[in-house]
Symmetry: C2
Subunit: 366 residues, 2 copies
C-alpha cells in the first residue's frame, strides 16, 4: 500500500446526486460503525430514540440558523424528492378547482406544471419557451392571477442552466419555489416565500430526503385523497415522527449543515459560487469553440450549461474529460451539450482543472 502514489484528484460535475464535501464523507466514514460511542451506526438507530432525536433536532436548528428561517415557518424533513412534491404541493395547498400560477423557465418547471395540472387549474403566468429558455421572463411580462392559490417558480433550472437572481413580488399570493438545485448556495430571504422545497441530492445530502419550509398559516388539512404520510399538516403536527424518517440522510444533511457553518455560511458559499461560475463562464465566452447561449444576467451559478460550436466533437470532449478525472459533464438529455455542476462542494481547483482541460481540448482542435 505504501508504494502506491496518491491518485490524481477526481472532480465530479454531476447535476445530482452530485459532489459532496469530502470532510462530510470523512466524518461519515469515521462514525459509520459507531456514532459517538453509542456502539451503533446512525443507520441502526431507532428514530424515536434519544440519539437520533438529538441528531434531527440539531440538523433542524443548524438549518434554521444557516438560512435565517423565521419562527413562523416550519422545517419538515420529508421523503420522495421534488418530483413527488410536484403533486404533493397542490394536494396540500390547493382546494379542488383552485388555480395556481406557474412560471415556466425550462425543463423542471415544465415537469412541475404537467404534474400540477393533474390537481389544479394552472395559469402559466410567463414562459421562456418562445425564447428557447435562454432567459428568465421579465417580471413585467408575468400575467399573475390575484386569485391564485400560490405562484410557483423554479429558482434554478438544473437542465437549462438558468436561475433567478431576483425575487418576484407576488403580493398576497404566496410565492412557492422549487429550490432543489440552488438551495443553500446563497443567502435567502425566506420571509418572501410561502413554501420552499428542495430535494437533497445537490447541496444537502443523500437523494430522497426532501426539505419543505412552510409558513405556519399555509399548514392546513390536505385534500382527502392525500396519503397521511405526505400531509404537511400531519408531518408538522407529529414533528416528523408520523412515520420513520430518512434517518441516515437526515444525519448526513446535518453534517453538511455543520460543514456550511464552519465554512462561513451561505454568504461565503455565494461568494465562492460566484467566483467559480464567473470564471467558467468567462472562459466559455472568451472562446469561439464553446458556446453558452444563456442570457448573462440569468445564468445559473450551479449548473453551467454550454455546448461545442462543432457539436460533432462533443462525445470526444466528454470522453477525454472523463479520462482526466473530470466526470459527469454530459448535458441533460433534453438539451445535449455539456453541463458542469458547481455545487457548494466543488472546489475551485476543480473549476480550474476543467477550464484548463477545455482550453487544451479547444487548442488541439483549432
Amino acid at each position: 500500500m505504501a508504494c502506491i502514489s496518491s491518485p490524481d484528484p477526481v472532480y465530479n460535475f454531476a447535476a445530482g446526486p452530485g459532489i459532496m464535501p469530502r470532510e462530510v464523507l470523512r466524518q461519515a466514514r469515521e462514525e459509520l460503525l459507531d456514532w459517538q460511542g453509542s456502539g451503533m451506526s446512525v443507520m441502526e438507530m431507532p428514530f424515536t430514540g434519544e440519539e437520533f432525536q438529538a441528531i434531527q433536532r440539531q440538523a433542524q436548528q443548524d438549518l434554521r440558523e444557516l438560512l435565517g428561517v423565521p419562527d413562523d415557518y416550519r422545517i419538515l424533513f420529508l421523503q420522495g424528492g421534488a418530483s413527488a412534491q410536484f403533486s404533493l404541493l397542490p394536494m396540500n395547498l390547493l382546494p379542488p378547482g383552485a388555480t395556481a400560477d406557474y412560471v415556466d423557465t425550462g425543463h423542471w418547471s415544465r415537469k412541475a406544471i404537467a404534474e400540477g395540472r393533474r390537481y389544479a387549474r394552472i395559469n402559466v403566468a410567463a414562459s421562456g419557451e418562445a425564447r428557447g429558455y435562454r432567459q428568465v421572463p421579465d417580471l413585467a411580462s408575468w400575467r399573475l392571477d390575484p386569485q391564485a392559490g400560490y405562484c410557483h417558480i423554479t429558482s434554478n433550472e438544473t437542465a437549462d442552466g438558468l436561475a433567478y437572481h431576483w425575487l418576484p413580488e407576488t403580493g398576497e399570493v404566496p410565492l412557492v419555489a422549487d429550490m432543489t438545485s440552488d438551495f443553500l448556495s446563497r443567502p435567502l430571504a425566506v420571509e418572501r416565500f410561502g413554501v420552499i422545497y428542495a430535494g437533497a441530492q445537490k447541496n444537502i445530502g443523500p437523494a430522497g430526503l426532501t426539505i419543505v419550509i412552510i409558513r405556519d398559516d399555509l399548514i392546513r388539512p390536505a385534500r382527502p385523497e392525500t396519503p397521511s404520510a405526505f400531509s404537511y399538516q400531519v408531518q408538522a403536527d407529529s414533528n416528523g415522527r408520523f412515520n420513520t424518517p430518512l434517518t441516515y440522510a437526515v444525519y448526513i444533511a446535518g453534517l453538511v449543515f455543520r460543514w456550511l457553518r464552519r465554512e462561513g455560511g451561505l454568504a461565503a458559499m455565494a461568494e465562492r459560487n460566484r467566483r467559480k461560475s464567473d470564471k467558467l463562464y468567462a472562459a466559455i465566452d472568451r472562446s469561439d469553440f464553446y458556446v453558452c447561449p444563456q442570457h448573462a444576467a440569468d445564468r445559473s451559478r450551479m449548473n453551467v450549461c454550454f455546448h461545442l460550436a462543432e457539436a460533432s466533437l462533443t462525445a470526444e470532449c466528454l470522453q477525454q474529460a472523463g479520462a482526466q478525472g473530470l466526470l459527469n459533464l454530459k448535458g441533460h438529455p433534453a438539451n445535449g451539450g455539456l453541463r458542469a455542476s458547481l455545487y457548494n462542494a466543488m472546489p475551485e481547483a476543480g473549476v480550474d482543472a476543467l477550464i484548463a482541460f477545455l482550453q487544451a481540448f479547444a487548442a488541439r482542435h483549432a
Copy 2:
C-alpha cells in the same frame, strides 16, 4: 489509541431502524469515499450513470435470486416506507368504491386498515382484537369477500410479537402482505402473493427505501389523484428512473443481499432465526418472572415481546440492560413491557447475552 482495550460488544435490539450486519457496515465504510476506484462515494453518483445503474441492477438480481421471485413479478425500489404504502396500495390497486379484505392482527394492521378506509370499503375479514392480539385468527374464522380487490395481511406484527407461520388461501383474490418486519427472514413462496411490500429498516437497509414486489397483471393505471412518483405503473414502466431513487439506500440494501447470499440465503436465515427466538422464548417460558402471553404457534421470530410479572420493575430492568450494552429493549409504547428484536443481523451471542442478563436480573429480584 493502542492502549485502549476493545469495548464490550453492544447488542442493539431495536425494532427498526435496527441492527445491521457488521460486515455490511464495514464494507460501506471501506467504500464510503471511493466506490471501487470510481473516485466517488455512491452518495455522489448520478443515478442515470453506469456505476449506479450497475449497483441497482445487481441489487435487483440478487434479491430476485434470494427470494426466488418469479419472472412475472416486478421488483420496485420505492420511497416513503410502509406507512406511505398503506395509502398507495389502494390508490394503485383499487378503483373508487371497491372493497378490500384486511385481517387485523395488531398495531400495524390497524394502521393499514385505518389508512385503507380513506380510499376503499374495508372488510375486516378477521380480527385478533377480542383475544388481545395474542394469536393470529384461525383461517376458518375469516369472512373473506370473494369480490374484494385484495386480501391484506401483516405477516409479522412488530409491536405485538405475532407472525403468520402459514399462508392463507384466498382463491382469485390477490393476497397482499406488509412484510416490513419479517421480509428476508425466511424463505417465501412469492407466487402465493399478488403484492408484497416492505419498508427497509428491519432486514434490508436504511429507512425510507421501500420494496414492492408486484405480479405483472396487477400493474395498472393508478387512481387519477395518485402522485406520478408513487404510481406502481409509472415506476415499473420507467424501471425506477422516473425520479431520483434512494441511491445510497439501494446500494446498502445490495450489500445486505450479498451478505445474505454469502451466509447461505434465506433457509440459513430461517434456521438461525428459529434457533435464536426459540432460545429466548424458552428462557421466558421457563421463568415465572417474565411473561410472554402470545400463543406459542403464532409467536414472531423477529420481535419477541414480553413483560415482567412485576411490571414496576420494568424501568429498572431496561436501565440495567442498557448499562450492559443490551440496547433498545423497551416495548412498543402501545404495549409496554420489553421487546427484543432479533433481526437477521442479530448474532446468537446477542441472544445469549440477553438471556444471561434476564436470568441474573430475575435472580437478583427473586
